[in-house]
């Protein structure tokens, strides 16, 4: 009698599909399905694709052929070199500017802070195609405003977009224009988390503003600086819109970046296998660089 009495209850419990335990999974289910379909699946599919080459229109397994090709591809090295030049020159300049701007905006001296914050952040949310059209006009060798100003003060015209060296400079300028404000806002948030008492204590000990900046602001900002540094490194490896719209990667591939090269192989030449191999090498580079950056900061 006791057994039959308990049975209906357990059966009823088993039939229950929505329980406190399953509810979280049901809620994340739709998002998870989309994530699998549009993120996880492509990640795995492109990994498999990176070991395949196209033979008469059909992708067939070819071992490490794409990877060995990559290591003997001069254009790949050129694109990688360009990416590193931008990384090593542009990222420090941009983060230096961002720290300075954030400190100025965080100090009590400036009026109209809200206006400046918006003004510096605006480039990050501007359509890059529209901005590039303006930059192409500004940087035009013969009719651009910048060269007009240069010649009017007696300097020579600069071939901003058609000279291999200056095209890189232009690319760095535009990238800096676009991303400085973005990093500034992140750093500003970091600055506002630094306890005011630290500065007060330093003031009592007679520290100058410069000393306060180097001995309080910078060390306290370290985790935020690391974050912006890692994000900017990843950003440099993914730099595509700027060279695509400004210079088309030219002249003579002077501004081709690694992601642009990936795009060309995939979507211009339809070598999706090779493009996937490039993508995985980029992933490897980003992972290694981020790991090094974390190590360096932690060991300090």
């Amino acid at each position: 009698m006791l057994e039959t009495g308990t049975n209906p209850i357990t059966i009823k419990k088993k039939k229950q599909f929505i329980t406190p335990k399953t509810v979280p999974y049901i809620f994340v289910g739709p998002a998870l399905l989309l994530f699998i379909a549009f993120t996880v699946y492509p990640i795995i599919a492109s990994f498999l694709l990176s070991f395949q080459t196209k033979v008469a229109g059909v992708y067939t397994f070819s071992g490490f052929a794409n990877y060995t090709r990559l290591f003997s591809d001069p254009l790949f090295y050129k694109a990688l070199g360009n990416t590193f030049i931008i990384l090593l020159v542009q990222v420090p300049i941009m983060l230096f500017l961002a720290v300075i701007l954030a400190s100025v905006l965080n100090s009590g001296l400036l009026r109209m802070k809200g206006f400046y914050r918006v003004a510096f952040f605006t480039p990050a949310i501007t359509s890059l195609v529209a901005a590039s059209i303006i930059f192409v006009l500004l940087l035009n060798t013969d009719y651009g405003l910048i060269n007009y100003l240069l010649t009017s003060i007696g300097l020579e015209k600069v071939r901003w977009l058609t000279d291999p060296f200056w095209a890189k400079v232009s690319l760095i300028l535009v990238t800096t224009w676009r991303w400085t404000g973005y990093n500034m806002v992140i750093l500003l948030a970091g600055l506002q988390n630094i306890p005011h008492s630290l500065y007060e204590a330093a003031s009592i000990d007679g520290a100058s503003t410069i000393k306060k900046f180097f001995y309080i602001t910078i060390p306290q900002l370290k985790p935020v600086l690391l974050f912006t540094f890692v994000m900017s490194t990843i950003g440099s490896f993914q730099l595509f819109d700027e060279p695509y719209n400004l210079t088309n990667g030219g002249p003579n591939n002077a501004t081709i970046t690694i992601t642009y090269y990936l795009y060309n192989q995939g979507f211009s030449f339809f070598n999706f296998g090779y493009a996937s191999a490039i993508a995985y090498v980029i992933v490897l580079f980003i992972a290694v660089l981020s790991w090094i950056q974390f190590k360096v900061v932690r060991n300090d």
Binding site: I36, A37, A45, A56, N248, P251, N252, N264, S268
Partner: protein, 437 residues
């Protein structure tokens, strides 16, 4: 345990996704073109871009529907890059989502047929063979598969000549008729540059090199799809380019806009280029009306070939079209109807490949913009001499490589002879193709 289930579920999921793209169907349809145009029925979709899309929609369609009232055509204007990406994606997915008729450039068609041998309908089997002799041979040759079947209906082509400033030539005292070889052209260029202090010609990519190669019946590829970058023809071409550079005749114009600006602002006195430049010139440089003319491309040696081609497209029917009969009659009409070809030329500046069109009065008319020259006839006269060349599936890679090499030559002073060697090495590495020599 739960992890294992999740993994299996995920694995099944990816398999299902993968399987979606592998469905294929083979259908044997009845493909006879009815004798009575009114018996052709149904809806078809057409993908084309820019001028050709306007041509198909506004010039062809009204006339086509008069003859074939029961075919409902929808022309979709899609950008050129999007067309190629969508066609490539569609063919990869076994032909789904493709239109019934699609515009394809001559130099791109083999990049599709190489990857997807059954990409497009064999038009010869539908009866297009009977039109073969109605078109310029070089055009038809470029649209045939390995077995000689026509796989796309020819539309326009781009015969090349030298477009030049008549007023400057007159001032300097040069008779364009006396320019028969590239050496003559360079001598004339030196005189013009000494007089104007500006350049003689500009280039923005590998276009000029390709023109010079095809002019000699040579190209980046041999007939059997091998690389042919260090051929004698290529060496002759870069010799001429080096001479032009040494004499300070040639400037690098960076891109299309730069090229147009150089012509509009008088930075250059000549432009070796295709007939379709006329459309851009008339539209963007109206103030230079009457100051332009055309002479034939200079030969590499006296009596050598003076005809070449740059550009041109065709209309193909994807194999998975479910109304091939209607698609065929539309492509055939757009390709072979003489009145439509004339409209394409006068309304859109698209130069027809249909030889019969050249007999129409418009071709012998004197063009006011071109100093009252019979501009179109002079280009049409070169069409039968255009050599056929092989645009292989690696065309785009080669163009990209050689454009970079041309930039290195013009901007970084790399010797012209070197660009062929370097280009060859890079092309072998990039495309995996062998070189013929």
């Amino acid at each position: 345990m739960r992890k294992k289930y999740a993994f299996i579920l995920f694995f099944l999921f990816t398999m299902v996704l993968g399987a979606c793209s592998n469905s294929s169907s083979t259908s044997t349809e009845d493909l006879t073109i009815p004798d009575n145009p009114e018996d052709v029925k149904g809806d078809i979709t057409v993908w084309a871009w820019a001028l050709e899309a306007n041509y198909l929609e506004k010039d062809v369609l009204p006339a086509f529907n008069k003859k074939y009232p029961n075919v409902n055509v929808k022309v979709e204007h899609i950008g050129v890059d999007q067309v190629y990406q969508k066609v490539s994606a569609g063919l990869s997915a076994g032909g789904s989502g493709l239109p019934d008729v699609v515009q394809v450039e001559n130099n791109r068609i083999h990049s599709f047929t190489e990857d997807f041998p059954d990409a497009f309908t064999n038009l010869s089997s539908l009866g297009f063979d009977k039109h073969e002799s109605e078109f310029s041979k070089s055009k038809i040759d470029g649209l045939q598969d390995k077995d000689g079947n026509i796989i796309a209906a020819p539309r326009d082509l781009g015969p090349v000549g030298v477009i030049y400033r008549t007023d400057i030539f007159e001032e300097v005292g040069i008779d364009p008729a006396s320019i028969e070889t590239w050496d003559d052209y360079i001598e004339a260029g030196k005189k013009v540059v000494a007089h104007t202090g500006k350049a003689f010609l500009g280039t923005d990519s590998d276009g000029l090199l390709r023109i010079m190669l095809q002019q000699q019946g040579s190209y980046y590829f041999t007939e059997d799809d091998k690389l042919d970058l260090t051929s004698d023809a290529a060496k002759k071409a870069v010799d001429v380019l080096q001479k032009m550079k040494d004499a300070g005749l040639i400037i690098y114009t960076n891109n299309w806009d730069g090229q147009v600006a150089a012509m509009k602002n008088g930075e250059v006195a000549t432009q070796p280029g295709a007939v379709w430049w006329s459309g851009t010139m008339i539209e963007q440089m109206p103030e230079l009306s009457g100051k332009w003319g055309m002479f034939q491309l200079p030969a590499f040696e006296e009596g050598g070939g003076r005809a070449s081609n740059d550009g041109g497209s065709a209309l193909a029917i994807p194999s998975k079209s479910d109304n091939k009969v209607a698609a065929y009659v539309f492509a055939e009409f757009a390709s072979t109807d003489v009145d439509s070809q004339i409209k394409a030329l006068t309304n859109r500046g698209l130069f027809p490949a249909l030889l019969a069109a050249y007999e129409e009065p418009i071709f012998s008319e004197e063009q006011e913009y071109f100093n009252n020259q019979t501009f179109f006839k002079d280009f049409a006269d070169t069409v039968i001499d255009i050599p056929s060349v092989n645009h292989s599936s690696a065309e785009l890679e080669l163009r990209s490589i050689m454009t970079s090499q041309m930039e290195a030559f013009l901007l970084e002073d790399k010797p012209a002879a070197q660009i062929l060697e370097d280009g060859k090495k890079q092309a072998e590495q990039q495309t995996g193709l062998a070189s013929s020599n």
